[in-house]
Amino acid sequence: MARRMMEGSQAVASAVALCRPQVISAYPITPQTHIVQELGQKVADGDLVAEFVNVESEHSAASVVLGASATGVRVYTASSSQGIMLMAEVLFNISGMRLPVVLTCVNRALSAPLSIWNDQQDSISVRDSGFLQLYAENNQEAADLVYQAYRIAEDHRIALPVMVCMDGYILSHAWEGVDIPDQSTVDAFLPPFEPIYKLDPDQPLTFGMFMEPDKYLENRYMIQNAMERAVGVIQEVAHDFERAFGRASAGVMEEYQTADASTVFVVMGSLASTIKEVVDELRERGEKVGLLRLVSYRPFPQDLVCGALARAKSIIVIEKALSLGGPAPLVSELRSAFYGRPAQPGVTGFVAGLGGRDITVDTVKAALERARTGAGVDGFLDLRTDLELEGE
């Protein structure tokens, strides 16, 4: 194992290559490009034996890996933002056919207005696609989740695709020290792909049939069950990962200083690192603050989350996505998870960082202050006051 300084995209590409995908297909979009460029170079140099299919759209990128996965080989694709939107139709189709595709979503805002910068509206908008969604905090994790994603996706108890999400630029273009394991470690952790079914003339099967109303619902029910099973499988794979790689994996979530915390932040992705700074600082002053970092948004491990937060008095959700016209996605889900449970902490939700606006230590402290004075009142953080806003 070697720890090297590298860009987040390079770390992900290295991890993907070590998983030996046989078909890679992608369409360029900022900020995903560095990952697929790096993979293209590995194929060009013969360091990775794979078909790299340069397609004419993200819709086709997802369709190519769909077809290749159904033919029984391990596949990879990556995208961002509008690319995820254009893939959306195919993403639902991939999970419906129970194909273990692994995809990196380099999180970026959605147009309009056009923004190439980070938030998480893209992956959140395909929440219901049937992809598992795992959010990385840093580049080490963005890489480590790739090995685990293949194990989870290809597990015959699950047979569902996995989307590993990493914040655009903040992670994808940031240089950090990353441990990249050797091939034998990855091979021991991740055996060759054994499809349950595949397209093969020796045993002709029909994929992608239509179902009438007397069967469709049961099909969706089975996928829902597989998603629920995935909570346990993610934990199990994280445990195996730690044994194989000698490094912890968070599994479905990470708890940071939550044991005695009366106030707990809940976030996904790289924002957790900023919040850990704030937690450390406030703890020095004796304030009982903690963080629950959700890795797995789908499946949503609600029993584990509620259990971990049961002792808290106040929960502050900061998220980088909206549900226009309704409460933000993560906070509404968390409130719903607590409904009917004995513990009823106050939950306050904030939306921040959309379109790449920095979320600083001060932003986080402001959230804390607002939750103290107006618990349960959701809102935006860092809204500018120097602009005339429609309807204000």
């Binding site: 369709s63 994929f207 992608g208």
Partner: protein, 386 residues
């Protein structure tokens, strides 16, 4: 007597296509020509719906349907997977779609498949509209056809544009084999599928398939409409190899477009309204233009008029009388050679989609639903010695 109907098709019976469906017939013939060692993809549409109602499948080959517009991209993925795992030599990949899934919504994916050079035969079953959703206009709907979204009305004669020229677009991509055919000529279809699959790289085959429901013609007319469209010149049956036109099915007896248009309800408005004749004339001009452009009525370059050189035919001599391109059609049975050229059951040397002229049919006749009396009225032109 052995069973006359082949029940062992790779595209099994029991599917739910409409009576007289040209697409189901064409799909069956494509699979028959391709054989079992293929993987097929399919866009959303009639073919997909009538063949894959879970848990019933008509496909005896590995088959995948994903979405409407991605059949060519899914096929690209299948091909890439076979290539990287060293299985592409033994397994051929066939992409399939209707005209909408191929020429409209799936056009980008098709272009990508062509341009990347995947080793895939893409078959477009062209029934000239979105039939599965209820006969809406597509980019391959012909001029003046009435569809539900290009209806004829007081101010309209139906579809205002002509067919997108997809074969030429495929040629422009540098696709090594591009062909058109019609389900009315099953041997031509068979030959083209086999030829396409013998070529490496992308291939495009566009098959004219009548839709009695959408075109509003009698279900018994499927194959005759599919022949007539070719005989008028409206649907040239062509073959391009490496960008060069290498064959164009010649028209021996040109039919006026009226004969083709009249049995179809989608053109009824051309015959019951004032001004219809001018519209028919415009369609005739399209047919005449095709005939001139592709030389559909020119004499064959090397007019190999087969001649009766002997009263005794060998197998290779008999093969010259195949009924194609104006040649006479002879068949042998129990040592006698019969002339079937004038028989309505043997148009272009083909009989019941199964039998070809220019051959000894003694063994095939054992399985026929009729006996040798049916040959009695045909002129005997010689003896056959294998």
């Amino acid at each position: 007597m052995a069973q006359a109907v082949d029940t062992d098709h790779l595209f099994a019976s029991g599917h739910t296509a409409c009576a007289g469906c040209g697409q189901s017939l064409a799909a069956r013939l494509v699979l028959r020509a391709a054989g079992p060692n293929i993987i097929a993809t399919n866009s959303t549409g009639c073919l997909e719906v009538f063949s894959s109602n879970y848990p019933h499948s008509a496909w005896r080959v590995p088959w995948i349907h994903s979405l409407f517009e991605n059949s060519a991209a899914v096929a690209s993925g299948v091909e890439a997977a076979l290539r990287i795992s060293g299985r592409l030599d033994g397994i051929r990949v066939i992409g399939q779609g209707g005209d909408g899934g191929t020429a409209d919504i799936g056009f980008g994916a098709l272009s990508g498949m062509f341009e990347r050079g995947h080793d895939i035969l893409f078959v477009c079953y062209d029934n000239e509209a979105y039939m599965n959703t209820g006969v809406q206009r597509s980019g391959l709907t012909p001029f003046d056809a009435s569809t539900t979204t290009s209806p004829a009305g007081r101010e309209s004669w139906g579809n205002r544009t002509g067919k997108k020229n997809l074969p030429q677009i495929a040629v422009a991509h540098g696709v090594p084999y591009v062909a058109t055919t019609s389900v009315g000529y099953p041997f031509d279809l068979d030959k083209k599928v086999k030829k396409a699959l013998s070529i490496r790289g992308p291939k495009y085959l566009q098959v004219f398939v009548p839709c009695p429901l959408g075109w509003r013609h009698d279900t018994s007319l499927c194959t005759s409409i599919a022949k007539m469209v070719v005989e008028t010149g409206l649907y040239p049956v062509l073959e391009y190899e490496n960008g060069v036109l290498t064959s164009a099915r010649r028209i021996t007896k040109k039919r006026p477009v009226e004969e083709y248009l009249k049995p179809q309800g989608r053109y009824a408005h051309l015959f019951n309204r004032e001004g219809g004749a001018e519209e028919v004339a415009k369609i005739q001009a399209l047919a005449d233009d095709n005939i001139a452009r592709f030389g559909l009525m020119d004499k064959p370059a090397e007019a190999k008029k087969a001649e009766v050189v002997a009263k005794v035919f060998t197998a290779s001599e008999l093969a010259g009388f195949d009924g194609l391109e104006g040649r006479p059609a002879y068949v042998a049975y129990k040592g006698r050679v019969y002339d079937v050229t004038g028989s309505s059951l043997w148009e272009d040397g083909e009989h019941q989609l199964e039998h070809r002229a220019g051959r000894d049919l003694t063994r095939e006749m054992e399985n026929a639903p009729h006996d040798e009396d049916s040959l009695g009225s045909l002129p005997v032109v010689g003896e056959f010695k294998a």
